[in-house]
């Protein structure tokens, strides 16, 4: 089981390099390059050409590729001309913001999704089940940017101005201007305030999918013989469902965790964009638009790595939740 996972992880390394290589060549096909960052009004074509040469952009494609690959394999992600700093530092600046947003959202999405899904399965066919099915489908199929805009409309704009609610949440960014001057506690509160809407958006969208998945899985589980055994034993219904049912019902949900896991690093591009959240998603979009190739390549590699890590984690989690997998050696 462990060796199987290890083998798969090792196999992922060439795959990830392949993906980065593909991105390298595809982006090279697009017109324009990073030298345009230095373009200023009144600059002569000769000057631009000079800049381009100094950046090594006039070398043949294969040479540039070889240079990038060599540095990359040595752990050097390169230099971002747009941000004027090493790629590593730029990514390390964006990463914590994405981690905070995505980990909170993932936590609440699974918590709410599992509770709702179990409730639906237990009350299958009831009015409550139908209503919750409608709600989860609504959020599951909702475009995230639209939901984000609607939440902004409700909780940020209308809340204060139209309905005189005593609170409203900030629309964008991770903190208010000048928040650095606040006392530590107020600074913390300000940060939390800014987290609410983006986390809520991401949570609602992910929770819808989790709930639908858990409902299906639990419906299958609660018809199993061992649930009847648990009842025949004299266990209270809550323990029958939450212990004997849920432990089995969550096994397929592990897959979903593997799928959502990469969000921790990649963030969700659209949500970060709408909320001007300075995380990885936003950084990637900006970098693609600016032709900031080293950042895009490093980001691609990281995201790919997260997908692989997510799968690996899911494999290991399977072993934790399902003893039948733990004890079979692959």
């Amino acid at each position: 089981m462990l060796s199987f996972s290890l083998r798969r992880t090792l196999l992922a390394i060439p795959l990830l390099l392949g993906v980065a290589t593909l991105v390298f060549f595809v982006l090279s096909l697009a017109p324009g390059d990073a030298a345009s960052i230095y373009l200023r009004p009144g600059m002569t074509p000769e000057t631009l050409e000079h800049i381009r040469r100094s950046m090594g952009l006039d070398d043949p494609l294969l040479i540039r590729y070889g240079r990038w690959l060599l540095a990359f394999l040595q752990g050097d992600f390169g230099y971002s001309h747009f941000y004027q700093m090493p790629v590593r530092d730029r990514i390390l600046a964006a990463l914590p913001n994405t981690l905070i947003l995505a980990s909170g959202a993932l936590f609440f999405a699974f918590l709410i999704g599992i509770l709702v899904g179990v409730l639906q399965a237990v009350k299958e066919g009831s009015f409550l089940d139908s209503v919750l099915s409608g709600v989860t489908l609504f959020f599951y199929s909702m475009p995230s940017f639209w939901l984000a805009l609607m939440l902004i409309l409700f909780f940020s704009l209308s809340a204060m101005k139209l309905w005189n609610w005593p609170f409203s949440f900030p629309v964008s960014g991770i903190q208010s201007p000048g928040a650095d001057l606040l006392a530590p506690w107020d600074q913390f509160r300000d940060r939390i305030h800014h987290l609410v809407l983006p986390t809520l958006t991401l949570t609602l969208i992910l929770a819808g999918g989790v709930a639908r998945y858990v409902r299906t899985s639990m419906l299958d589980v609660i018809r199993q013989d061992y649930i009847r055994t648990a009842r025949a034993k004299g266990l209270p219904e809550t323990r029958v469902i939450m212990k004997h049912g849920l432990r089995n019902g969550l096994i397929p949900v592990v897959t979903l965790f593997g799928v959502y896991f990469p969000f921790l690093l990649s963030g969700t591009v659209l949500i970060e964009y709408v909320f001007a959240w300075p995380g990885m998603g936003q950084l990637m979009v900006e970098s693609i638009l600016r032709k900031d190739l080293p950042v895009v390549l490093a980001g691609t590699f990281l995201f790919g790595g997260m997908v692989v890590l997510g799968n690996l984690l899911a494999d290991l989690l399977y072993g934790v939740v399902d003893p039948r997998i733990r004890q079979s050696d692959g």
Partner: protein, 341 residues
């Protein structure tokens, strides 16, 4: 007061069309320490009867009709819920099922699942409960209980799994054990061991036992009395030996003829032709009449009652004895000319 007294039990399954009358007016008496066998083909309603006792009918899958009564030591179980029902389940009345593989939870170790039952029904602290769990594993003949307790169901053989199920059922020291086809999924050699085990623990703990099986052989090895079920009704009931020696109802005789025996190996098997009709659509008259080799006109028109009797055909001696004590048969062959409904 009897340990278990079932009166006029009717359990129906709701379907799109007519209700399936799966259990259709069954009376059953089980005294303290007695073992009673319930025999019938698939579709005879025997499993639903057992599930009805502990209120374990699948949701939307079956309902006990008003007028039915199931009394455990005088306490009415029909309609009971809540805490008292949970105390009885596993504590006073335990149940084991046909498929030990699917009936044990695959993600918990067998020790854990037995321990859960011990802690639920016995006033023991953690350590004592654990010791009791190991003792139970030993009691049901699982070798090296300390090591096996940590095993998951998939690591055990079918026979060991059923032993673990029995250990779990014994955890609450029940006074009645319901065993629904406990050996059907097992090898014949293992079957014999499990039956022996059931017999032994029943005798040692003085438990009542309701053993349900499609196999007359299985039941006759363990039970004091046998009830033969057909079409949701009891067609013959009586002491095991009497039924085996002189089956009266044509269906019982059919079951005897279709069972394998080591004693007379040259005897040809005589299966009962046809199959059990759908419970939504019982035939008029006697429910067995389409398959009965001795069918008469009357069988097609009128349904016979369950009558006490000792001999078949002609001179039937009617007993005025205690219900369940002697022999009850539901067949027109017994009624002669005058005893009709």
């Amino acid at each position: 007061m009897s340990l278990l007294e079932i009166q006029k039990l009717r359990t129906h399954i709701r379907t799109a069309g007519d209700d399936a009358r799966a259990v259709d007016g069954v009376d059953l008496l089980l005294e303290e320490g007695e073992s009673v066998g319930l025999v019938g083909e698939s579709g005879s309603g025997k499993t639903l009867l057992a599930l009805s006792i502990l209120g374990l009918l699948p949701e939307g899958g079956g309902a006990i009709l008003p007028g039915s009564s199931i009394r455990f030591r005088g306490e009415e179980l029909v309609g009971m819920g809540g805490k008292r029902l949970r105390e009885i389940r596993g504590g006073e009345v335990a149940m084991i099922f046909q498929e030990p593989m699917t009936s044990l939870n695959p993600v918990f170790s067998v020790g854990n699942q037995i321990l859960e039952a011990v802690e639920l029904h016995r006033p023991l602290n953690r350590d004592a409960a654990k010791e009791e769990m190991l003792r139970l594993l030993g009691e049901v003949g699982i070798p090296d209980p300390e090591a096996r307790a940590g095993d998951y169901p998939h690591q055990l053989s079918g026979g060991m799994r059923q032993r673990a199920m029995i250990a779990m059922a014994l955890a609450g020291e029940p006074s009645l054990l319901l065993a629904d086809e406990p050996t059907t999924a097992l090898d014949v050699t293992v079957e014999a061991q499990i039956l022996q085990l059931l017999k032994r623990v029943q005798a040692r703990m003085g438990m009542g036992l309701l053993l349900i099986s499609h196999d007359l052989n299985v039941v006759s090895r363990v039970c004091d009395r046998i009830l033969i079920l057909y079409g949701g009704k009891v067609v013959e009931a009586g002491p095991t030996q009497k039924i085996l020696d002189a089956p009266i109802h044509p269906y019982t005789r059919g079951l005897m003829g279709s069972r394998l025996s080591f004693d007379d190996r040259r005897r040809t098997l005589r299966p009962i032709p046809g199959e059990v009709p759908e419970a939504t659509d019982w035939p008029r008259g006697c429910r067995f009449h389409p398959r009965c080799p001795e069918v008469m006109d009357r069988c097609r028109r009128e349904e016979p009652r369950l009558l006490p009797g000792t001999e078949r055909k002609g001179a039937v001696e009617v007993q005025g004895g205690a219900p369940g004590g002697g022999r009850d048969v539901r067949c027109w062959l017994l009624a002669g000319e005058e005893g009709g409904a």
